[in-house]
């Protein structure tokens, strides 16, 4: 017994001596020893403190880096056998539920164009001739322009197709820079940046600027991708009533009051809205909005995905229509895919705004740049719009022709602005609205404002339309119109994923590629179909 203790202590002292000599071999160890000795002599408490600190540092370093829930109070300790049982028992839900009959028939009813899409396309499952396409975004008829095709082919022969890299790593082509320059010049902005998909542009622009703690004041009717951008930004969001600048002002005031009350620091503040709303075609009163944002010191992120290339004398969008200099909009976002029949999206603004996105815009940094020929097609599209204002005149004329017929119908209501190239049509419910004039007044009644924290407007509880039933009816209208040769579409929505369920609508997309007579004929077909289905 004692001999084993002796042996142990002898071994310990031997190894200690060994360690000591090894330690003294390390250059500089003598200094350390001297330092520790003297500090211990002066203040023994300090040695303990330093030892504790060292132990804490080692403990922290050894901790798992990932956020382990193992130590949380909700963690339950299981034995291996229990875990095996739980693993065996667990059955996941299927990855995806099969389509319902309605979804499947909707998917099957999606028109598929054979060959070139345009004002009068050929469809796969269509026997009769299509006399007009009022479903596709070909507002200014750039889709069929031979000159664009020629330029695209030239570009293909020089650049190939793909850019094979993100913009940061040899994916920036001279034609990309040229398109950025063209867009900035066209709009009158200082600079512009292009993204390779229109849809992903604003959902990347928003989180590039809006961070946690920043304030976003947004319209309740913004499109899906803006909603997603806001969601990913993790900023504080306040909502104002759809296209109601009085409501916006109230919300801005309440935000300011809140900040003063809390004495919070000055944070970035943004107003996010659309030029022409994708959801219903309403148009923002830009001059008033600009005045408001300057007065309240907010920055404006304006989504012109629908209005760019469709309104204004030459299609520069809302800024041209209202004669507002584009540099008053801090971030002007648009889509070359919609407005120019090319591909991708852009954001225009000051040089600082653009430079910032080049490093912080997620879908700019982490995505391959767009194919060269799409960039050149965009540039060429701008050139065509710039040099021939008659295209826009014709588009607006066609819109007026369509509206003059549709506005007469009493079975539908149209929330879209008279100049909007997309025309949304809701089913009008004649009786109940007349019985409750107070609720019908809608935007005028401001005695009880909506809660800015909630995305749902105050009168959401009174929405009495049956989404499924209306969608079925409208789908019948779509199919009826298609039988008579007019291709239209319901506005497709991700039901259950949108923050506010938009009311079902049929969405017409006007084009300058049809003559006024053709538009008249086509819209009459649509109105016939509407009447027949809705008055049943």
């Amino acid at each position: 017994m004692s001999s084993s203790t002796d042996g142990l202590s002898a071994f310990l002292s031997y190894s200690l001596a060994n360690l000591e000599s090894a330690f003294s071999q390390i250059p500089g160890s003598a200094v350390l020893v001297r330092y520790v000795k003297s500090s211990h002599q002066n203040d023994p408490g300090r040695t303990i403190l330093e030892l504790l600190l060292a132990a804490f540092a080692i403990f922290t370093l050894l901790q798992s880096r990932t956020r382990a829930e193992r130590n949380g109070k909700h963690f339950i300790q299981f034995s291996d056998k229990e875990i095996e049982e739980l693993v065996d028992e667990w059955t996941p839900e299927p990855l995806a539920a099969p389509l319902t009959a309605v979804e499947a028939s909707d998917l099957a009813a999606v028109p598929i164009v054979v060959g070139q899409n345009g004002p009068k396309p050929t469809l796969v499952k269509q026997t009769s001739k299509i006399i007009a396409n009022l479903a596709s975004y070909n507002f200014t008829g750039l889709a069929g322009k031979e000159i664009i095709k020629e330029r695209a082919i030239e570009t293909l022969r020089k650049y190939g197709l793909g850019s094979c890299g993100p913009p940061g790593f040899y994916g920036t082509l001279d034609v990309h820079m040229a398109l950025e320059r063209d867009i900035a010049d066209f709009l009158g902005a200082e600079a512009a940046i292009i993204y390779s998909q229109g849809f992903s542009t604003i959902s990347s622009v928003i989180p590039a600027f809006c961070k946690r703690g920043d304030i976003i004041v947004a319209d309740r009717g913004v499109n899906f991708t803006i909603q997603k951008g806001i969601q990913i930004s993790r900023s504080t969001v306040r909502w104002y009533d759809h296209n109601d600048l009085k409501s916006l002002e109230d919300v801005l005031d309440s935000v300011e009051k809140e900040r003063k009350k809390r004495r919070g620091p000055l944070t970035r503040r943004f107003i996010i809205t659309e030029g022409i709303f994708e959801k219903d075609g309403a148009m923002t009163d830009l001059p008033k909005l600009i005045e408001l944002k300057y007065r309240k010191k907010y920055r404006l992120i304006l989504d012109e995905s629908i209005s760019f290339g469709t309104v204004g004398r030459t299609g520069r969008g809302l800024t041209e229509l209202y004669n507002v200099p584009a540099n008053k909009v801090d971030m002007l976002v648009g889509s070359m895919a919609n407005g120019l029949c090319a591909g991708g999206g852009f954001c225009a603004g000051s040089q600082n705004v653009i430079d910032h996105q080049q490093i912080n815009g997620p879908s700019f940094v982490f995505s391959a740049s767009m194919p060269a020929l799409l960039a050149v097609s965009g540039s060429e599209g701008i050139e065509i719009l710039r040099s021939s204002p008659s295209i826009l005149t014709k588009l607006q004329q066609n819109i007026r022709v369509a509206r003059s017929i549709l506005d007469e119908l009493d079975c539908i209501s149209i929330p879209s602005h008279p100049a909007s190239p997309i025309i949304h049509m809701h089913i009008r419910k004649p009786a109940p609205l007349l019985l409750h004039p107070a609720s019908a007044a809608g935007g005028h009644a401001h005695n009880k404002p909506s809660n800015p924290v909630s995305v749902l407007p105050r009168d959401a509880s009174k929405w009495d339309w049956d989404i499924d039933a209306e969608e079925r009816l409208l789908q019948q209208v779509v199919e009826e119109a298609l039988k008579r040769g007019v291709m239209i579409t319901r506005a497709k929505r991700l039901r259950g994923q949108e923050m506010v369920e938009a009311r079902p609508s049929i969405r017409l997309a006007m084009t300058s590629d049809l003559s006024a007579d053709e538009v008249k004929k086509a819209v009459k077909v649509v109105s016939q179909a509407l009447k027949e289905v809705l008055r049943k």
Binding site: P92, I112, R157, D174, F199, S200, A368, Q497
Partner: protein, 658 residues
């Protein structure tokens, strides 16, 4: 010069069947695991059907300046060699020894990701250099704000506006990244093929701004994601794209569900499904958005996403949008993954302890910064036991890996349909843009209806679709047309072919191509595609093993076309980049640092392509060897095990077989 301007004059006289015979012979060769396939069909008998002016072997420039050694191959082709590509786009290489097969040897283990550490003084000096840069930056900010308030105005609150980007948030960008800005966002022109033309620029003010000099430099491009070399302005794919622009225009004008669907979409989707061996596939017009817009349709509240810590930003973006819970595991560490799985399944949802609705494991096939290959065999084992769903992002691996180019499942010889979701992009191997998701028919239909892109995002454009179809079909090889279906419309024919028994990897049915698309024979029979796969595999292995033998520290799997070479010191990034670019044969490289990598492991990332010849890889190795000596980068193998660069070049075949 005229020697090279040789245009193939012989018309397509060779019967298609001989190509198939040669092809199957090549296949048999590869299956037997013999030496790297050298098949007579691959390069020699190729003949060009269209003798149109499009196929010229050179740039339009009348006189070719070959001082940089890039415009012309080192050796003039002999009479038996006919090249249909432009050497600057896709290098001429007829030596069938320089071919390898990309596949996993059954029974061997998949190498885990190893962080090889450099000597301590390198780590120490890296930390010190960051420290110096950060201190200097703060000093400059401190003084700058006092003496040059003008240049800080946009970083300070002014006039009641908070700064868009505070000086704190932008510190790294302004004070560290700006110093090496010349390495990033270099504008280029022309095809991003074997070589690329950079627009020369200089910075008069320490990289704050860049001024274009107006001149261009052609450089060897070992940076673009052009794995199979389909970035070409000349050749069968580009010809097909040209026809498609004439037939289909530039845009399909709208989203897939709202009037932007075209027959090309349907054809391309069925071809993609066939390529990856899944039941159905959908196509999205942007690779980033394929993840960010479709992941939220797969999982939601009550679901758990288990994500590799090095997954791409688009995956994180999509998962964040989905609202699902996320847990991460250490990069490619199967032990950590299993213990995490045991924990999350046994614990259930946080607090409530309800069982998870679904668990989705999201991994990448090939990691873009590390070059590591996912340990798929191990994951498949885990999948059997733990019943999670598996989502593989094959952005980099599809086309680039596997004996048939079908990606990581092909590489490991795992049936694709045992994986739930295969996602990939067309940017990298196919020279196009956008991405796809493939899976069961029910799943894909659900995604078509529920994914964000369906109703809201613009559909893929016809030229891009055509590039996808043409390049994919030429990797697969096109099966001879079924005589009866020639009268039927393409879509009907395509529906018929879907009834065919499942076979993977399959050839592309002739009905999967648009009627107007005629691929040149070497593309249609798949021989050129096969040769591209073999060339890429050889180049990847050769560069990887060559760098290791020279003594560098590299990461990743030898089969990976992404080869990261570790630099560690921030300052060496700039130097390496510039020294490569200023060589007699300029080489452009991608250097990456924090935040794309960890703070310490700044690196160069080479992306090998099938377009490179063995001589190109030699050039890169020689350049690395010289620069590595100057910058003290060789800290991998010890002196005795290293080879000299000449030995590496001579014993290339041996290296590629390692």
């Amino acid at each position: 010069m005229s020697l090279f301007k040789k245009k193939a004059t012989s018309q397509s006289s060779t019967p298609v069947t001989t190509y198939f015979a040669a092809l199957s012979k090549a296949e048999a060769h590869s299956v037997n695991g013999a030496a790297p396939t050298a098949t007579p069909a691959l390069s020699l008998s190729s003949s060009i059907t269209s003798s149109s002016e499009d196929i010229v072997l050179h740039e339009d420039d009348a006189q070719i300046d070959n001082t940089d050694g890039l415009a012309l191959p080192p050796r003039a082709p002999n009479s038996s060699e006919v090249f249909t590509t432009v050497h600057t786009e896709f290098g001429h290489c007829s030596n069938n020894d320089f071919r390898s097969i990309s596949r996993h040897i059954p029974g061997t283990s998949v190498p885990a990701h190893v962080d090889q550490d450099p000597p301590y003084y390198i780590l120490f000096s890296t930390y010190i250099s960051y420290l110096i840069l950060i201190c200097l930056g703060h000093v400059r900010d401190f003084l700058g704000k006092r003496f040059h308030p003008g240049s800080y105005r946009h970083l300070m609150p002014s006039n009641g506006y908070a700064p868009l980007n505070s000086d704190f948030d932008s510190f790294y960008t302004r004070r560290l990244k700006t110093r090496i800005n010349e390495c990033f966002s270099q504008p280029v022109t022309g095809v991003a093929g074997r070589t690329i033309q950079i627009l020369d620029r200089i910075s008069p003010d320490y990289n704050h701004s860049q001024i274009f000099t107006g001149t261009r430099t052609r450089a060897l491009n070992i940076s673009s994601y052009n794995y199979l070399g389909f970035a070409q302005a000349k050749g069968g794919c580009a010809d097909a794209v040209e026809v498609s622009i004439k037939e289909h225009g530039i845009s399909t004008c709208g989203s897939r569900l709202e009037g932007g669907s075209s027959d090309l979409h349907v054809l391309a989707e069925s071809l993609v499904a066939r390529f990856v061996g899944m039941e159905d596939a959908l196509i999205s017009s942007m690779g980033f958005a394929t993840n960010s817009a479709y992941l939220p349709a797969l999982v939601g509240k009550g679901c758990l996403v288990i994500s590799d810590e090095l997954n791409h930003a688009s995956i994180r973006f999509g998962v964040r949008l989905s609202g699902a819970n996320v847990r991460m595991f250490k990069h490619n560490d199967m032990g950590k993954l299993e213990s995490l799985l045991r924990e999350v399944i046994s614990q259930g949802q946080p607090k409530a302890h309800r069982p998870w609705k679904k668990i989705l494991l999201v991994v990448e096939g090939l990691y873009s910064m590390e070059g590591t290959l996912v340990n798929l065999p191990a994951i498949m084992e885990l999948k059997k036991k733990y019943k999670f769903f598996l989502f593989i992002d094959e952005a980099h691996s599809v086309g680039a890996l596997g004996p048939h180019g079908r990606g990581v499942a092909d590489y490991f010889d795992i049936p694709p349909r045992s994986i739930d979701i295969l996602m990939g992009t067309f940017t990298k191997s196919f020279g196009a843009a956008g991405g796809y998701i493939a899976g069961s028919k029910a799943l894909i239909d659900r995604l078509r209806v529920r994914g964000h892109a369906g109703p809201y995002a613009e559909a893929m454009t016809p030229p891009v679709l055509t590039q996808v179809v043409a390049s994919m079909a030429s990797i697969m090889g096109v099966a001879p047309p079924i005589p009866t279906s020639s009268s039927a419309s393409t879509l009907q024919a395509q529906l018929e072919t879907q009834i065919e028994p499942y076979h993977h990897p399959a050839r592309a049915p002739a009905s999967a191509l648009p009627l107007w698309m005629t691929l040149p024979p070497s593309l249609a029979d798949g021989s050129e595609g096969l040769s591209r796969l073999r060339r890429l595999a050889f180049n990847s292995r050769y560069l990887h093993q060559g760098l290791i033998k020279l003594g560098f520290i590299t990461y990743g799997h030898p089969a990976s076309p992404i080869v990261p070479l570790l630099l560690f010191n921030l300052g060496k990034m700039n130097m390496f980049h510039r020294m490569m670019k200023d060589r007699a044969t300029p080489i452009v490289v991608v250097v990456v640092a924090y935040p794309a990598t960890s703070l310490l492991t700044s690196r160069v990332r080479f992306c090998v392509s099938a377009a490179h010849t063995k001589e190109d890889v030699d050039t890169v190795l020689r350049a690395c060897d010289e620069i590595g000596d100057v910058l003290d980068l060789k800290h991998g193998l010890q002196g005795g095990e290293r080879w000299g660069v000449d030995e590496v070049c001579v014993r290339a075949l041996e290296l590629a077989d390692l």
